[in-house]
Symmetry: C4
Subunit: 190 residues, 4 copies
């Protein structure tokens, strides 16, 4: 089994998630620019979610270029990862309409956390089905970043109930670090 | 005619089905976690349907890697299979909002049954357009599993009207067995 | 420029059209089977549209397997064809909710007619950018069928205002003939 | 990293944007042809947006056929471009329902402008990551057209508040010129 269909299917699911979220941004009835202000929360949450899906697509793309064989375990670890990603539009919509309310914000962080965990599981399954050389080459320098970002999401979830503005800051930070890393380090590896 | 476009089109349709279902999970108006409880039925039915579409994508992927030629019959058997799969979001939504009511539950089982039957037809058409060697290599060890699961769906449909909880159990069992089988047996075959 | 991205983009658009139509089939509020009866019109119009999109995907697949170069003219003839196909969900929804009312039925036929005409234009553009040998091999035996089906759609549009049941019959006939032809004749050509 | 997944992902996103826009064209309740007249604004804005997404898909297709390596910077410049394109359905819907009202029309022009700017950025990033020969071959004859069209969009945005009909004319002109150019000049380059 080659990786081409797994990649194509994953690309399809991520393309749909990233595009369809914006349809929750309903056109307002009024036609003045002020009518857009209540949409700001949905817009910002869309922007953050767009960036996260972009990061995961980029990570997935990067991870699978070195993979030679696909097994049933890898297929299901990938579907598990896609399941959590597919919940992002739902939590994005809930948090976007209720800005800094605690439960939507905590659930949004929980989805980010589960996406992160399921991606780590996907990596682990792939490494176990391949060899040690593969691990050393690809995964090792991702590990530290991933551990830290899972910790940051967890703290963000707790902060949602006490200091929502800080929680948002915790959700955004790993994304900014990751984009920076992808832009400045993926150059060498290609 | 190569199989690449048939695979790409099928991947596209399955990616859309699996992703769009979650949009029936509308964000609640309230912002407390209790507001999510009424969504539990829709969420569970989404989870089960996600798993079934994942299983069929996996099966399809597995089946088509051995196929060398695509004919008009195979194209239409595949479209017939996609038609029944495309009804899953509709029945998922109906059953999810009405939990254990008999008609939605029976219709959900009927859709699962028709997906199963149309996949068996697709396999039969492919085997008939190829040779006997192909059949012995691929299909034979699927046959028993498929017969049993079609029977289980049929019993589940009947049970929907008398013991809905048991019906749900009948719908979930073939999925769990299939995931187990795909994780532990596809390893050898790749 | 190879044909691969044009095919992938077209597959994506057709996969979305064919799948998203079913989302107009909203789950009824009631939970008895009778609640599905008012959905019958939408279901039947979905089925017919699903078949037409399937036929066009099949035709497109068949046409492009012989094409060697893609030019700007071919790209825009293809986008023109996709534009008319993208209107099918709108007209399907209108006709499905109003069964045999004249205007929706005529508009549905008009969309079928424009899809047919734009596919003929796409073929003509492709032939003109290639050579005569290409035309004789591929197109010639399609031409008669296409002329007849464009005529049948046109008659169907007129009949929508006088004998809607007959109009539906005129819309379905070319599809049945085409499926039959694709199943029994594409075998030889592959 | 090859360009194939970046192309597939972009094709997926553009296919969804171009197709899903038409779902904002809700079927009217009445069944006479007059019921379609209030839909004319949405239909025209859909048509213009369909053409713009088609142009960008065509440009993207054209640009990436010469690209040999993909870096993190190119991936993010591409995601930035897709972000602005993904807002087109929202602004299309707002302007379509409010025809020539100033704010929706200006916002529509702003989205066109940002799509244009982000495509220019994508080109610049690609050129900087490749060599000078690449630039001279591909980009140079695009530059003048792009500068002029960005200027035309900007004037259109200003005109939205004073002469909306002229603004629409300014939005349509670059599209017509571009289609003409793609149909008559891409022939030589392929």
């Amino acid at each position: 089994m080659t990786t081409s269909r797994l990649e194509a299917f994953t690309d399809g699911v991520l393309a749909i998630i990233i595009t369809i979220m914006v349809f929750q941004l309903k056109a307002p009835e009024e036609t003045n620019l002020e009518a857009l202000f209540p949409k700001a929360g949905v817009f910002v949450s869309y922007l953050i979610s767009f960036i996260y899906v972009g990061i995961y697509w980029n990570n997935h793309h990067f991870l699978f270029q070195y993979i030679e064989k696909v097994t049933g375990k890898i297929l299901w670890a990938n579907l598990h990862f896609l399941f959590w990603l597919s919940l992002i539009p739902f939590t994005t919509s809930w948090v976007g309409e209720n800005h800094l309310d605690d439960s939507p914000l905590a659930l949004y962080g929980f989805t980010l956390l589960m996406c992160g965990i399921s991606f780590v599981i996907l990596q682990m399954v792939i490494v176990r089905e391949h060899d040690k050389y593969f691990e050393s080459k690809i995964i090792i320098n991702l590990k530290n970043y991933q551990r830290v970002s899972l910790l940051i999401y967890s703290i963000g979830i707790l902060l949602s109930f006490y200091a929502p503005v800080v929680a948002v800051f915790f959700y955004i930070t790993p994304a900014i670090l990751k984009i920076y890393s992808q832009i400045y380090h993926q150059k060498k590896l290609l």
